[in-house]
Symmetry: C2
Subunit: 280 residues, 2 copies
């Protein structure tokens, strides 16, 4: 594979940032990778695992001279650190992120970039309940979808470079507007998270011993990190509220079929859901 970037700085060497470092090194995509963490222990582990060549606790110092900066922290910190590093960015640098919601991030960071620096939003749909660089693997993005979210103002060359990076680490790259991304992810990820949490909240004291594999699978995502999920949900409020109303309508259709003991209608609803689920 050709060298895509001479110097890359990854801000946040957790599961996603660490996996990206490992994958870029495995494919030889970067000349040098600098990793930024907020704890020396994670930096040391990332160095030991070979996810980065150099570690730093200071984002501004670390991005100096970088051709590509990847903001791989939680969403709140992506917007904060993204603004903070602006004075230290070199001309022609490309800045990207890995946040799970895109509209707020892109609106905050695109206009904040200095002349000659280009921001491109991105979201690799990968990861798990696991967190931290110790769970990072070079293969995390292989076969996963990464959404790149350029706007009318995005430099096409910068968007192409970011797409190339994700393709090179094995992801299937899809281009969407930030708003399209957020509407889709509200239905495929954020609503299911809220529904799982609400299912758990519906349990009553005697129920715990009777939760079988089905319940466990259906609610596994409710174990996700609370702060990360507050960030995700509160930066995608409108789309999540729409998804919640649409979900309530679907639930009401089931409720009416049960209330009226309508087997034909119930079978029709279950059957349509089964067919769509089986086709995923």
């Amino acid at each position: 594979m050709p060298l895509l970037f001479d110097r890359v700085t990854i801000v946040g060497v957790g599961l996603i940032g660490g996996s990206l470092g490992l994958a870029m090194r495995e494919k030889g995509l970067a000349g040098r990778i600098v990793g930024v963490g907020h704890r020396q222990a994670s930096i040391d582990l990332a160095l030991k695992m070979g996810a980065i060549d150099e570690g730093s606790l200071d984002p501004s110092a670390a991005v100096m001279g970088a051709d590509l900066v990847v903001l791989a922290t939680g969403i709140g910190l992506i917007m904060e650190v993204g603004r903070r590093i602006v004075p230290a960015l070199k001309r022609d640098a490309v800045v990207t992120d890995v946040g799970s919601t895109k509209t707020d991030v892109v609106r905050a960071l695109e206009p904040a970039m200095p002349a000659g620096v280009h921001f491109v939003g991105a979201h690799p749909i990968a990861g798990s309940e696991k967190r931290g660089v110790d769970a990072a693997t070079a293969g995390l993005f292989r076969g996963a979808t990464t959404v790149v979210t350029p706007t009318k103002r995005t430099d096409p060359d910068a968007a192409r470079k970011v797409a190339e990076l994700w393709s090179a680490v094995g992801a299937h790259v899809v281009t969407l507007s930030p708003e399209e991304h957020d509407a889709i992810l509200a239905r495929t990820s954020h609503l299911p998270h809220v529904a799982a949490a609400a299912l758990v909240a519906t349990l009553r004291p005697p129920d715990a011993g009777f939760a079988g594999t089905g319940f466990r699978d259906a609610t596994r995502i409710a174990s996700g990190d609370v702060n990360i999920w507050c960030d995700i949900i509160l930066t995608n409020r409108e789309a999540i509220l729409s998804a919640l109303w649409a979900f309530s309508d679907e639930l009401a259709a089931f409720r009416r079929a049960v209330e009226s003991n309508d087997r034909v209608k119930l079978a029709e609803l279950l059957s349509a859901a089964k067919q769509r689920r089986d086709s995923l």
Copy 2:
């Protein structure tokens, strides 16, 4: 292990019935096991796998002389066949079932039994999306919970025998009234099924490619057999409607926190759900 029953007839040699046959034979719990199927092919397979000693297509002929009859078909058929075999049952026989809802089944079959024959409802909480005797294993019930649902009218000796059977094949036996069972399972199994189907129904055309592991896990149960689930849902309508209303209330609490951009409240709701899910 001691012989628990001299002659056992299992009506329905699918995943549950076939696994029970395999487990009883492995532990030497029955003198002879007769299996009833509605297709000769499943009977032949059950015989070949060693799940039964003898096969039959005729439930009434097969239950003659049986000390224990296990109704292991879908719920609709449990009630129908349970009534149909009455004239053929021998005095002192114990009749039990494995249906996923209990109130309707117990109300239908308990009073239908002739003098000296005892019905005891039961529900092994085991199984998967898989169906059919080819998926049966002797270990299916090991570590699983089986609920036994005696009523005031149930013969204590018959209830003890049924509980012994399930303990002997490795299940953790819990005794509940049919109504308690149905209320709990509405929240731990039936509501999650409806919610999963409604989540799938909420997807819009562009979404399919963006459904990651989280969505797949959360909606796996929506792939369950439509007829089996119509039977389950329509024989537990009241409890499922209560669970649906409780779930709607929990969803509304999340919706209000999102609408009012209330991070403290949202974190509290997510955190409570995470703690309960982690403790399962």
